[in-house]
Symmetry: C2
Subunit: 362 residues, 2 copies
């Protein structure tokens, strides 16, 4: 029987594999209070200022949100030190990824994506009919030389997460400068700084500083991690005006929820909460490193709020055993890292519970 | 200088023209409390059950929303009387429109859109490189014969809003059956029922009843109007499983805000609020009709929560004069209806204020 045919490239799109939810583990194993360290959520909860803002605006939930997100962009402009007209707000940075792909990719265009990174770049690019070129990693580092080798006249976009998810690694200032220099002016260089707030290395350079001189550089940012608003979906794209104007042409007019607009604005001004988040994260990371060293387990030092841990060939069993005990980490199987799990930094007691259970199931 | 080039079809996309906001009028004319009757928002506010739900869930704003929207789909399944697997939830029905276009349109495919309807179908289709065929209207009615004339082997999607925005008109049961019969099985027939809750004609048929026998029929629904949640962005697509499965392949995993998921679920079960909304709308429509008759002003009888009113060649002046007095209606200039304004039904006192000011400025 005849039926409507989707695009010819749709069948090649792999599914996104989300972290296992607490609900799933509560139902499957009858565990009252699982500990979820799977999705890099903020263990301190949402910014308290954001919660106050929700309280103040919720009575206006029947009103369409501001299509221009003017107040939120003003707050973002102050936070990221770029003018509001260089900022576009998305329904999470997932939507910024989609808008970039949809505005720039024609079927057959090439998109370069490092071999082990956030999986939604691939999904979004393939959904637009792109030919995705996977560039090899240098161990757990994004390899800019490998990206350079793959550049061609057909390269429309290069995606680089800095720091990178799920490896937690980070390119330094010189590498970002080199990358920006090597990508041609007519190829978009999209640098996803979702985890940039957590970076401790001294030589980190946010690519927002390069936008002024590079009309092809786009940075992405999110309030999901450092500001504790994963559930509200607030992401940003920052780029030169020609690029943001292009993205605005296809942005759905009411793409960001009215509660998210206000909560996001309040969270950006909540520097106290951000500071607490960073302290909790860095202390948690140092604790996990120390325990890994004690247990003789290999891990990848992280510039984010999660750690990639090498369990070995036993990783699938360890992951499942932890689940049964109510400790939800992230399986790395869908990332081609079968010997690893990824664990988000939790509260101190959550980190301790993770270590205690891990030690028992090893 | 070289720069990244957007898709070749991007320049042809017209901007979406939203209703003027209260803020704009407050600032422009120093009016303390403008009355906005421009965007078909629910004048009763959000469903109170939805507000309670927001209160209950807001502490989880740091957690990613359920990618499957399982609880909300269960509520929608009960409300729309279709199984959950035939339902997909969007960030407003705008996102459902986008997903349909992105999943099915290859550049050059044809999309048929009636000449005077919701403008986002055109924007979304053009963003995918579609060739949009505008089918003529029959006065203010969608003309299914005109749609039939435009069908070709290249027609991928037909969009029909029923009831239609901004005309407020509605196709009857037989026309929907005829339309479904005439659209080939390999062409998607997308019927947008955003305003269906408000319909008073006896012979209205929701196309959700046709999904079982027509694998190419998709209906769209929203909680923005009848359930007072325009600010939260909750829309639904309902279709046969092959179609919903196709849309799920490109749906961003966390597309609906966690507060919107819970609020939407609560609103769908809030039948008391829906009933109040319908009574307020129908009484308001009848009041506006009576006053238009008294003033000798032509209008299009409506099956929605707004009315298209023929002011005449003076419409731009009347629209602006109303703005200056703090009455925000919708200019129809961007819809090619230069002699008209569209007014949403408000609270009784808002409707009276609209009439009083209109009478003065005429």
């Amino acid at each position: 029987m005849k039926k409507p045919l989707p695009t010819s490239w749709l069948q090649g799109i792999p599914p996104y594999v989300p972290g296992t939810s607490k609900d799933t583990i509560m139902k499957r194993y009858g565990i009252a209070q699982p500990i979820k360290l799977a999705s890099n959520e903020n263990p301190l909860g949402p910014s308290p200022k954001a919660l106050e803002a929700i309280e103040g605006i919720k009575g206006a939930a029947h009103i369409y949100p501001d299509p221009d997100a003017a107040d939120l962009r003003k707050a973002a402009a102050a936070f990221f030190r770029r003018p509001p007209q260089q900022i576009i707000v998305g329904n999470g940075s997932d939507e910024i990824i989609d808008l970039i792909c949809r505005a720039f990719i024609e079927p057959g265009d090439e998109v370069i994506i490092p071999g082990c990174t956030f999986s939604y770049y691939n999904i979004a690019a393939l959904a637009c009919g792109a030919r995705v070129i996977t560039s090899r990693m240098n161990d757990h580092l994004i390899d800019i030389a490998a990206i350079a080798e793959n550049l061609s006249e057909k390269t429309k976009i290069v995606f680089v997460a800095n720091p990178n998810n799920p490896t937690g690694t980070c390119l330094g200032k010189q590498e970002i400068l080199d990358l920006t220099a090597m990508v041609p002016a007519n190829t978009l260089l999209v640098i996803d700084e979702a985890y940039a707030a957590f970076v401790r290395r001294d030589d980190f350079l946010s690519a927002t500083n390069l936008i002024e001189d590079h009309a092809n550089v786009v940075t992405m940012h999110t309030l999901s991690k450092s500001h504790g608003l994963a559930g509200l979906r607030v992401g940003f794209g920052i780029a030169s005006e020609p690029v943001t104007e292009t993205l605005y042409r296809i942005k759905p007019p009411f793409n960001v929820n009215i509660l998210a607009l206000k909560a996001g604005e309040a969270a950006l001004y909540d520097s106290e909460f951000l500071q607490q988040t960073l302290e909790n994260t860095w202390e948690g990371l140092d604790y996990i490193y120390k325990e890994m060293d004690r247990l003789g387990i290999d891990y990848v030092p992280s510039q984010t709020n999660f750690v990639l841990i090498r369990i070995g060939t036993d990783a699938p069993r360890v992951y499942e055993e932890l689940l049964k005990r109510g400790i939800i980490t992230r399986s790395m199987a869908s990332y081609g890292l079968g010997e690893y799990i990824r664990v988000s930094v939790g509260l101190p007691n959550e980190n301790r519970a993770f270590i205690a259970h891990l030690e028992e199931v090893l």
